[in-house]
Subunit: 302 residues, 2 copies
DNA sequence: CTGAAAGCGCTTACAG
DNA sequence: CTGAAAGCGCTTACAG
């Protein structure tokens, strides 16, 4: 009997199973763009953790706009995934936010589990990206190496993630007596180009030179590095540049880019882990360790 | 009635639907490692194409070993995905290959569609990566810029993809009277480190210097670039280096890496496209255009 | 054209 | 402990 099944290549029908159990053995991840190494690391961690439990991971693209996310979640609900993992940050009106929470609540009522792998801004179990701590550690490390003044390269969209980073930077700056020039920087798109234009704008502004440029993502920092070069200066020597996320293959850029390792892969794994745990009365919040990774783009001063 | 459904947040149950229709509205992609930009581009293309049709994309990790792939496909069959998209290359014994084909055949008998996004080495509809043409174009372009001799950095695993690349290189080399030093290179892992060790081995071998080093992936080429630097030479000036895949953000490496754009994203899209077409008596093969992208790592000679 | 019934392949509660 | 029946939420073929 069993061997007949084996011979015929029988495989149990997950869908049929799911119609009785009420859920499908999959984890649905909502990710903005899988080509972004930040997201790829999260997803990779999730896949790793899901596989031993026989769970599939599905990827759905969402923009950072809540309304779009709501639409995706509605679609996803049909699928009855065991869990949804929300990543990234989102922006949108208050009413959009209500729609999002409603959609998620309906999903939970159906027995779905919701987990956030990212910023701690939604009322669900979350594996939190340690932006604030990471920013603090970075600034502390730079201060220890003699950096006394910094300018920040920040995105034009406001989000919890960016605020956390800024808060961390400012806290550590105050603590270590580092001057932060905030006013000077325009807010730019979270991209390489954004970083480039912000940095070159700053360098040509005639403002007092700062010891280092801090960008909220590695991509922006790379743009800033190239702006520094195009301004005829040497990164590291004339001005330090640091990123965030530690997602750039350090050996591929010269000089190596100082950044902050956010242990994204572990966050992805933990998100799945949380998803597989029974829901609890109190919300679970796992915060990871961040680690400043110092490279040649910020050599010790003097 | 309908509005009641709407108010209660009703969503049709895909699993129940699937138990009657026999398949699930998902495309299952088998990918080695989603963190590899090569794979991320394929997957991104697939997601783009799948979404308008209301299809989810699931990602399963596989090593490049057939037996592992067979295991994953068996699992996946339970899911009854509408289609499976195979990527990458695979190696394994003849009997493993038989097992793979059997598993895939069972899946097809169940009404599943199989599509390859990668090398043309399996008897299914395939969106083919234009490695051979790409290699030809690269060598032709370099020959046109005065490169007369090249050494190849090749992987230690044999695969259709590598053979295609080699074939393309050799064809174009013959045509344009470029000397290819094959014997000298050891076969190395397909990684940055592999590229480094192959290149440094070559440079310290005392062999006659060649005009350029050609690597079968960008990652290997990056390793080669750093080996060149560590050998006290200047990439581009003393020796050219070229990669393949055009997956490296060119602005982030100095000098920019010459490579070949394989239109991976379109290949991902097309794979889904093929998956959604009715199976046909004759196998469909879509071959894409490759494009040599010349950058500073291979300046014109003289 | 409409509506009730049968069936998809499972799981689970229940009778024997 | 085993095995037949009911039920999961759909689709589809069929009777009215």
């Amino acid at each position: 009997m069993l061997e007949t099944a084996e011979r015929l290549g029988y495989r149990p029908n997950t869908s049929a199973r799911a119609t009785t159990t009420g859920s499908t053995p999959t984890i649905a991840m909502l990710v903005s763009d899988i080509r972004d190494p930040y997201n790829a690391q999260l997803v990779h961690g999730a896949i790793q953790q899901a596989r031993p439990s026989g769970l599939m991971v599905t990827i759905s693209g969402t923009e950072h706009v809540i309304d779009d996310e709501v639409r995706v979640i509605r679609m996803l609900r049909s699928q009855r995934p065991r869990a949804m993992v929300l990543t990234g940050t989102r922006s949108g009106s208050a009413s959009s936010r209500v729609a999002l929470l409603r959609e998620l609540e309906l999903y939970e009522q159906d027995g779905g589990r919701i987990v956030v792998a990212g910023d701690d801004e939604l009322p669900f179990d979350t594996a939190a990206v340690p932006r604030r701590e990471g920013a603090r550690k970075l600034v502390a490390a730079l201060a220890g190496m003699g950096y006394r003044s910094m300018a920040l390269i920040t995105p034009d969209v406001d989000s919890t993630g960016v605020r956390e980073w800024e808060t961390g930077v400012l806290e550590a700056a105050r603590e270590h007596e580092v001057r932060v020039d905030r006013a000077s920087m325009v807010r730019v798109p979270t991209s390489r180009e954004g970083g480039y234009s912000a940095a070159s704008g700053y360098l040509s502004s005639g403002r007092e030179r700062v010891d280092a440029l801090l960008a909220v993502t590695d991509a922006m920092a790379l743009g800033a590095m190239s702006a520094v070069r195009h301004a005829g200066m040497v990164v590291g020597q004339d001005i330090g540049v640091a990123g965030f996320d530690d997602v750039v293959d350090a050996d591929d850029v010269t000089p190596g880019l100082t950044s902050v390792d956010l242990s994204l892969e572990s966050i992805g794994r933990t998100a799945v882990d949380l998803a597989l745990q029974e829901p609890d009365a109190h919300r679970r919040l796992v915060v990871f360790e961040a680690r400043a990774v110092l490279r040649d783009s910020t050599p010790a001063r003097r």
